[in-house]
């Protein structure tokens, strides 16, 4: 398919004797809003660690825009256009918010020195963080940290943005705020993989959803199909 962005083919991952991912295959298309859900410990974060390159797979292949990225180190994948946010925010603590964005702007997007500040400010404006540009990252509130995670990922100029539980622990209005930001990014042509426990958000946001349980894909489809799927209900609620 011409508009295929990311292809995960038969990926497995083991941690010692524990099988974290078993034969996982999925595709993300150009411009798609893709949801990844599943109970805690079902392997969602492990999968995106494999996609972003933080972890190496034990089997299977990863293709990004047709290029095999299975053995590429994480920093090269980011340069190719895969950016992620972290579930537990990992800001660069010695830097201000603006300086945090400098890192991906210099290293991933290879922005010209003179344009770095302007570009960073533009991204912060889009995220609603411009007032905090000069603030140390350690002084941010939770939602600001989450926004910084997304802003920093955006500064890498990705084609695929992986948002790992960007809304956990936020209030309902804050969830809406993040959703608006992600939707706006998607409208600019960026594909988004959203990992989330907040069903209201995932169901509203995603065009297609994959459900994980115990390291395997148990269901795949549109939000409506997923809601009506008995296997999904069983995974979440038990028999």
């Amino acid at each position: 398919m011409a508009d295929m962005l990311l292809e995960v083919q038969h990926v497995t991952k083991r941690f010692g004797g524990f099988q974290a991912l078993t034969d996982v295959s999925l595709q993300v298309h150009q411009g798609e809003r893709f949801g990844l859900i599943g109970p805690n410990g079902s392997g969602k974060t492990t999968l995106i660690n494999c996609i972003s390159g933080v972890l190496r797979t034990d089997g299977g292949r990863l293709l990004f825009q047709g290029t095999d990225i299975t053995t590429l180190p994480a920093h090269q994948r980011t340069r190719l256009g895969i950016a992620r946010s972290f579930q537990i925010p990992k800001p660069f603590t010695s830097m201000t918010v603006l300086e945090n964005l400098r890192v991906p702007l210099i290293y991933a997007a290879q922005t010209h020195d003179a344009d770095v500040t302007a570009e960073a400010m533009e991204i912060l404006q889009r995220m609603g963080l411009q007032a905090k540009a000069g603030t140390r990252a350690t002084r941010l509130s939770l939602i600001e940290l989450r926004k910084l995670e997304l802003a920093r990922a955006m500064a890498a100029r990705p084609q695929l943005l992986i948002s790992d539980e960007a809304m956990a622990g936020l209030s309902s209005s804050e969830v809406d705020e993040i959703l608006t930001i992600l939707t706006a990014l998607n409208e600019r042509g960026i594909s988004i993989i959203m990992i989330e426990h907040i069903m209201r958000a995932v169901m509203r946001f995603s065009q297609r959803i994959v459900v994980f349980d115990a390291g395997q894909i148990i269901a795949q489809g549109t939000p409506d199909e997923i809601v009506r799927n008995p296997a999904v209900e069983k995974a979440y609620l038990g028999e």
Partner: protein, 314 residues
């Protein structure tokens, strides 16, 4: 115009130092300032890895002594000229740094620090058992009788160390202000996030360990000629590890200025104490000052001054 300022400053410091060698005759003055300048190099080199990149290195004695023993070996085996000794010392210790850099792939935090300490012990044991460079009892080094442009060898060594100090500060300044420095800081703050933000973490870490190691080796290369006796206990002295860590901590680890300030203050205090009170007091001073700084000014003198200036403005 502003771009020339650091270069002019560096050249004038070296010029001033050379002028001094024509004016001051007291040999002890050169001996003491040499030691302080040597610590400027060691502290600056340590800070490139420890301060900028966040990898605490306890192995300064290993890099320093490897430089010193490379020079000794070249002197003994080939009567190599001084410049060759200096460059070779830097090269060999730089290679050791490269190896340590690869180690960072597996060892992080305190485990890395322990490994560097172990490196010192291993290397010292090897040297103790190598008779050619003096083994455990060491060997005397005879300085060349004359040296070009200088009236005594001590002055020459002082000038060499001054140039090394200026050069290492320039390197640190450049690293800090270039795109490399931004990447090193990202590694220090969060290595995983740095890698995911496209920072080639392994390559930058190896760069930092290599540059840091090479500078330490070059600081060590003139050591045999400076003390005219090389033996393992003094070359691998743990003081180097403690001082090169304490000096940036006292001055401030995030800027090039920190290690320079720390080395000059602490180095001068140690030299003064050695002469006026006792030579054993050295480390006690370091310990006391370090404790005070960790409690009162955890960001070092540079950080403290910066905070005061900011408060003044606000």
């Amino acid at each position: 115009m502003r771009r020339c300022v650091p270069a002019v400053l560096a050249l004038s410091i070296i010029g001033l130092g050379l002028l001094l060698t024509g004016l001051v005759e007291n040999r002890y003055f050169y001996f003491a300032t040499y030691v302080i300048l040597q610590y400027v190099v060691l502290a600056t080199a340590w800070n490139i890895l420890g301060g900028y990149t966040g990898y605490v290195n306890f192995g300064t004695p290993a890099f320093f002594a490897l430089g010193a023993y490379t020079a000794t070996f070249l002197m003994r085996a080939y009567q190599a000229p001084f410049l060759v000794q200096l460059l070779a010392g830097g090269l060999i210790s730089g290679l050791l740094g490269l190896g340590i850099g690869c180690l960072t792939l597996r060892l992080k935090g305190v485990f890395f620090s322990i490994a560097t300490l172990a490196l010192t012990v291993v290397l010292q044991t090897l040297i103790i058992n190598w008779e050619f460079v003096g083994g455990a009892k060491g060997m005397s080094i005879i300085r060349p009788a004359t040296v070009l442009f200088f009236s005594s060898y001590v002055k020459f060594l002082f000038a060499v160390m001054l140039c090394l100090a200026v050069a290492s500060v320039i390197i640190a300044w450049w690293l800090e202000h270039s795109w490399i420095g931004r990447g090193l800081a990202a590694i220090r703050d969060n290595e995983e996030a740095a890698e995911c933000m496209a920072v080639p973490t392994l390559r930058l870490k190896i760069l930092a360990t290599t540059v840091s190691g090479a500078l330490m080796g070059m600081a060590g290369a003139p050591f045999p000629l400076h003390v005219t006796l090389i033996e393992p206990t003094s070359a691998f002295n743990l003081d180097y590890a403690v001082n090169s860590l304490a000096m940036p901590m006292i001055g401030g680890t995030t800027t090039w200025l920190g290690p320079v300030v720390g080395a000059i203050l602490l180095g001068a205090a140690q030299q003064t104490a050695t002469v006026t009170i006792s030579s054993a007091l050295n480390l006690l001073i370091v310990g006391g000052v370090l404790v005070a700084f960790v409690i009162l000014a955890p960001e070092g003198l540079v950080g403290l001054v910066r905070r005061l200036v900011q408060r003044e403005r606000a």
